[in-house]
């Protein structure tokens, strides 16, 4: 049962990644990343070897649902409303193509994890593969999108992947490190949101190509 659920959650994470890759609307992306936050919060319950008890299950779950599924999407929603970013910024790689790339990445990471010698260490290689795919897809989003909000979401995918990878390989992480990472993330997103608002006020756009011009 637990095994099946793990596979289901991992698949849903992969599908949400593909959804993020394929959606042109930042609001839709927000829904996707919030859904991913909810999925993440289920994961700690599915890894049975927690030795340090219920607290180490509940705390990451509660943290990820409040921070990743509620707070961060809410901040980003606010900033989207504020800057009223329209989705006219075409990505460097088109949406359908990036979804296909994402699909191949996901398949490739399964093959890759299968080849790795340490796969027996991992409790659920399936989840590990999903996490590995998420890392690459997060990078893909960051590198192909021009819209700052989309890039922040890419960063979140990347960060979620770290969480999954950690939990699927070691199953326990010291609790305070977990909390620390989450709070860091929250602060980071908060800073980014403020920065984006400022950038918008300054340039009347959140396209990153304008920032390149700033460099010169």
């Amino acid at each position: 049962m637990q095994h099946n659920l793990l596979i289901l959650i991992s698949l849903l994470i992969i599908l949400s990644n593909l959804f993020l890759l394929g959606s042109s609307r930042t609001r839709a992306m927000l829904r996707g990343i919030a859904a991913q936050g909810v999925l993440l919060s289920i994961l700690p319950f599915l890894f049975p070897m927690h030795k340090s008890g219920l607290v180490s299950i509940i705390v990451p779950a509660v943290l990820s649902i409040t921070i990743k599924a509620i707070l961060i999407p809410y901040f980003l929603h606010r900033v989207i409303q504020r800057v009223n970013t329209e989705n006219a910024l075409n990505p460097y790689i088109g949406y359908p193509v990036s979804v296909i790339i994402g699909l191949l990445i996901s398949y490739g990471s399964f093959l890759f994890i299968e080849k790795l010698p340490f796969s027996y260490l991992s409790i659920s290689p399936f989840t590990t593969s999903a996490a590995f795919a998420s890392i690459l897809i997060g990078m893909l989003i960051i590198s192909t999108r021009r819209n700052v909000i989309a890039q922040i979401i890419g960063y979140l995918v990347f960060e979620n992947a770290g969480f999954i990878l950690g939990i699927s390989i070691s199953s326990t992480m010291p609790l305070f490190i977990e909390i620390g990472i989450m709070l860091d993330l929250l602060a980071g997103i908060f800073i980014m949101v403020v920065a984006v608002s400022r950038i918008h006020i300054l340039f009347d756009s959140v396209g990153t190509q304008k920032l390149e011009r700033l460099n010169k």
Binding site: N4, I7, L11, L15, L18, G22, P125, F126
Partner: protein
Amino acid sequence: MIINICLSIAAALVLSPLLGGIINKTKAFYAGRKGSPVLQLYFDLFKLFRKESVISTSATFIFQAAPAIIFTSTLAATIFVPFIPGLPAPSFTCDFILLFYLLGLSRFFLIISALDTGSSFEGMGASREAFFSALAEPVTFVTILTMLRLGGGTSIQAAFRGLSSESWIIIILTAVPFFIVMLAENARIPFDDPNTHLELTMIHEVMLLDNSGANLALMEWAASIKLWLFSLIIVKILLPAEILTPAAYTGLTILAVPAVAVITGTVESVMARASLLKVPQLLFSAGIIAFLGFFLSLNQFLGW
């Protein structure tokens, strides 16, 4: 085998108009209406068969022959998906290609009969139908290939093993895109609106605009047989054949096919029709899910 073929055809002929009625009743329920009777489609067919056909003077023999060809080829496709298990069924290597190309044949004649009338509306409908079905076809074949890989055979019978404990996730990843394809192929919301009267937005219905009387009845009947066939395939993808006795399997099939209609009606009620520009995206996402299922079926990742 003859018995099974006869049974399949009889079931498709007799039961298929029921599905449209169930879908409409479901939609009426969500809209807070009483709705038309479940048997309305039977009444309509009966009425249409007694009416005479008016044929446009600009139409050629293609237009007149098309309804019969569409009807027979759709009906012929049903024999590969037997209604009752256990009995010998027509089956040979790669028969699924024949199945879907029989449906393709009927679509081909639907399209050229629409073009044959020379109406600008029907021309637009035909072009949309051709475009969207071309997008739906690869999804169909990927789902069938996945099923075949799991079933370990090359005929469509092998694909119908149903849910099992080790491959349930792949089955789900196949049934969902196939359901989306079913909605697209049968002109349901979000792809097309079967109830609309607005010619400019129609896909399937607009191609029937010039048909009347018995010809229209054949087209409508063929459309409901197609819906029946797709619903039956979905049910067979899902129902675990190995666990159930033939009697239980048949009973569950009889229950599950209307359930597919109810689900379709629910989807139609909670969703608005997508813009035609979004249709390729929807089919594309279905394709992505289908491919994910296909990839998972290639290796033994699920056993991890």
